[in-house]
Symmetry: C2
Subunit: 584 residues, 2 copies
């Protein structure tokens, strides 16, 4: 490393002073020792940086860091925060393709997009997620407002609609953005602390079930467009579920906890869920058994008919409202030709509290949980960085145990990777933000695609296809033309050719060397799979010509050995005829 | 609002309990009263939510909120956090267009993209921004690691390269993402706390100035593609600047502060900067005057020749290194045909500390600061939400005064809106993260486009064009076809037609009503500027036909009154012939 610039030294000094002040302040205010230690660690890291530049002695480290030697340069913990990761170029290409596929479906249905800040006023999120509120990231109080990172895109959307009721009280919007949950991460299994959601929501008062049916239609189209095979959309209605709990005799104060037990039926057998209801949650056995008779049901329209014929439910106000909705919904799903993709599943309860009508969850074969009795045989390496994903983890985790670092560890063998999309109707959320007593609640229905899980599945498929030697169509780099020289450096000449290509919308690059070796240039072409090479040689250049060689044409090595000679002033045209610059 | 669902009540109760515990804990640990008050406010908001649903008495509010009445529903502060804002659909369309324009240029030059988390380990950012470190947002310590929101995209990029030196020690990457600064916001003027940056960086060891010249080429191409008119790129070199300060006699410990004074010459006259150097910062008058002789210079290659002829500089090690770089750079800029877009400006110093070589800043006429003596006549309404932007605000603010709320207010009449892009070479930043003593520093050069400022300028132009009645090509909604009914509701028929269009990649919507009025449907078409209407009427439908009407065709009202009759099985083909579904 070269000698420090004066500015660098000054900057470090300023940082040192500020950090030292902070530590002094924390010590004098008798702050928590953990907090002080963390800030001292940062202070030491600044001292070490200065020491490395010869600007002072290194920090005296305590015995807790045995490998620290006083002459070693600063030891950074080079990592991203727990539960987060970087995305490398190839992954990004695939992610962008997935996002644009979803976006194409969303905009086909007339959706607009909005953006909201990554953090919200803390009170906006308060009281929206029940027990999961503890998973919200707060910003430090640095003087000013208390803010939290958004936990989903739904509550910020509701806040946005409530702020602009006259303009956006009726809106179809999508939003593809990151959300944050201080959940126990399971990187290899698909649970992150920072992850993308792709949301589509319809806000506004319309005739019943028309937007609801379209949301399901959008979900099917999006998952089809993504090539997700063999998915099913589980469907239920909160009002039917409430009716069932009511007619079975669940006391009001136990509805939520019993609902959450029922929601586990996708990964636990009935006997276990029944035990949770009765032994853990104190429900009477007969009540549990009555619930069991209902929630084991799944099917299609015939299940609806069966419930309509049920004397208890058909006389229950909430239940009949829900059943009527479902009837209309099935009508519309048949028009859209997607009713066979649905499973009316009375065990689906969904974790989030704000739903008031239909609820749904898409599951693929690829995301099905392992068998109940399969032990921790599945290898789950949390440090594996290439095949991780995330999903809206509304499900409660079970079987936690204390790990060696004192934090909760999740026994992944019992945790399903969950759905790849989920959503429902939430008619009261916007109204919760309303500051007037007028009934200006804006009914909403929406879906959130757990795109990290989709990504993990597609990435896995991509790796497998690559391993089989197939061309996947996913490249990290989009370069179409590599401009190279043979026989001499011809740097300015290569620059000039590249500039001509850039100006004509052709993606091109060259090696940043005065006199690059041919081998180095061919390696670059090979590594990035660049389809076309433009070769400059001193003699040809003098006569206004270059050679163009297709790298992976169908007729490899068939008259392609030296490439085609092309006049410089016809180069752009020639390259276009070979498919370059087509995006322009 | 309908009656609360049991789950909602349970959820609120759980939130209430958690929040009450938090307040108790804060009180018992004698936390700061401001912090306790803020948490109590959240507690009260949960109580009020419950009261609004009839689940208990409202919070007893203190006298500080005079408008609070015990029977009123909860009063949310419906806003985004200070310095942040929502982006409505039209703005988003324009923003997406700007991003994709920039992305197109970046990928033309062979860049790949990566993504990094929004927050980093706090120590990664520590010591990188000098005095500006105080503007970093920290996450609250909720048990676990100390993290901060990223302040720019450069330091996370350097961290990424340092973590993957063998794979990404040589990379061209772009990154379009949000960064966070607890700066004093000036929303109408272009300073946000959450704002996008568009960065392009080249990491790796190459022959001198080749990547540097390409970065400037990319910047010119991007600003041209964005239609930014009359911009200039100011250019300087840190080593030349260091040489000047050295030969003029600036003591090492004053270099940074004097450099920051020089950097103000774009908005303050020399007399003022001189006063700051001498009176405020204690520099000898002769030293200041010597600096003045140098930094007033700007021009092109002829300035370089003049400096090379300067006996003091031409014998100064650092300065001659810088001058040699500049000579080579000018050669390459001439090959790229962009040297006339540059201004070699010795007063450019740039705020960030990590630069080690050339530095640059693009300024447009539109972003030039107001004249020095123009008082606060310019209207600057911080609440205006439609024409705001942001930029990498590395410049120090001046002329602060205490506002009525006790926070600093910026007297915007003296604050330039700053550059629209800036960057430079930073050869030591990746090395700072290196944990070994080997010289594995990765030299880097990059540029960051202050896209919020670009957006503000383009949005202003868009509004002006709309006011003149011109068609701007920017719509918030991309819908191509509106499916409507006349004479009867024909809901399922409209659904069926829309589904056919969606399945064929045509963007379509219809009104979510069983029996919509024609006027309501025409209003929707008009409002969103949908180009094509498909009309279903009972009689025509029976004979397998619909009518298609172009809404804003060239021959308005010329045989277009009733539209064209089209057979249903030829509808997709017909609509495609009218330009629909072209993105597919």
């Amino acid at each position: 490393m070269s000698a420090p610039l004066p500015q660098q030294a000054e900057s470090l000094k300023a940082s040192l002073e500020e950090q030292a002040n902070k530590v002094r302040q924390l010590k004098s205010s008798k702050a928590e020792s953990g907090l002080i230690q963390a800030e001292v660690k940062i202070l030491n890291s600044i001292k070490d940086q200065m020491a490395a530049l010869g600007l002072g002695p290194p920090a005296k480290t305590s015995g807790s860091s045995p490998s620290a030697s006083s002459s070693a340069p600063i030891k950074y913990t080079l990592k991203t925060p727990k539960g987060t990761r970087d995305w490398e170029p190839l992954a990004m290409s695939l992610r962008k393709k997935i996002f644009s596929t979803i976006e194409q479906v969303f905009t086909s249905h007339g959706a607009v997009t909005i953006d909201t800040p990554v953090f919200e006023m803390k009170e906006i999120l308060a009281g929206k997620y029940g027990e999961d509120s503890k998973l919200i990231y707060d910003l430090q109080d640095q003087g000013g407002e208390l803010c939290s990172l958004r936990y989903d895109l739904t509550v910020p959307f509701a806040r946005f609609v409530a702020m602009n009721p006259s303009e956006y009280g009726s809106i179809k919007r999508y939003h593809i953005a990151k959300v944050y949950r201080r959940d126990q991460p399971a990187m290899s299994k698909g649970r992150f602390r920072e992850f993308y959601q792709c949301d589509f929501d319809i806000a506004g008062s319309y005739d019943p079930m028309i937007p609801d049916a379209e949301i399901l239609c959008i979900l099917v189209e999006a998952l089809d467009a993504l090539g997700m095979e063999g998915f099913t959309i589980k469907l239920n209605h909160r009002k039917i579920l409430d009716g069932i709990f009511d007619v079975c005799g669940v006391p009001t104060e136990k509805v939520r906890t019993i609902s959450s037990a029922v929601d586990k039926l996708d990964k636990s057998p009935w006997s276990e869920v029944r035990r949770e209801m009765t032994v853990e949650k104190g429900l009477e056995e007969e009540v549990a058994d009555r619930i069991g008779e209902y929630v084991k049901n799944k099917g299609g329209r015939e299940l609806l008919e069966k419930l309509l014929a049920d004397p208890l439910l058909s006389n229950h106000k909430s239940a009949t409202e829900g059943l009527k909705d479902m009837g209309l919904l099935f009508d519309y799903l048949e028009v859209y030709g997607i009713s066979d993709r649905m499973s009316f599943d009375l065990s689906l309860a969904r974790g989030l509290d704000y739903y008031t009508g239909i609820i749904y969850e898409a599951v693929t074969a690829a995301s099905a949980p392992p068998g109940f009795n399969k032990a921790a045989a599945a290898t789950t390496d949390p440090s594996a960085s290439s095949s991780s994903s995330s999903e809206p983890s509304s499900k409660k985790k079970t079987n936690k145990k204390k790990g060696p670092d004192g934090e909760d560890e999740v026994d992944e063998s019992t945790v399903g990777v969950g759905s790849i999309a989920a959503g429902g109707r939430y008619d009261n959320l916007v109204g919760m933000f309303s500051n007037s007593k007028k009934p200006d609640a804006v009914p909403c229905v929406g879906v959130s695609i757990g795109v990290e899980r989709v990504f993990a599945i597609k990435m896995q498929q991509l790796r497998e296809a690559e391993a089989r030697g197939e061309r996947t169509g996913v490249r990290s780099k989009e370069v179409e033309v590599f401009v190279m020289s043979v026989g001499d450096g011809l740097l300015k000449e290569r620059m000039g050719v590249a500039k001509k290509l850039w100006d004509n919308g052709i993606k091109a690059e060259f090696l940043y060397k005065n006199k690059p070796k041919p081998a180095a240039q061919f390696n670059a072409i090979e590594k990035d799979g660049v389809p076309l090479a433009v070769m400059l040689a001193p003699e040809e250049w003098k006569s206004g010509c270059v050679r163009v060689k297709e790298q992976k044409g169908k007729d490899t090595d068939e008259g392609q050995g030296k490439g085609e000679e092309v006049k410089l002033d016809q180069l752009v045209e020639y390259l276009r005829s070979k498919g370059a610059g087509s995006r322009d």
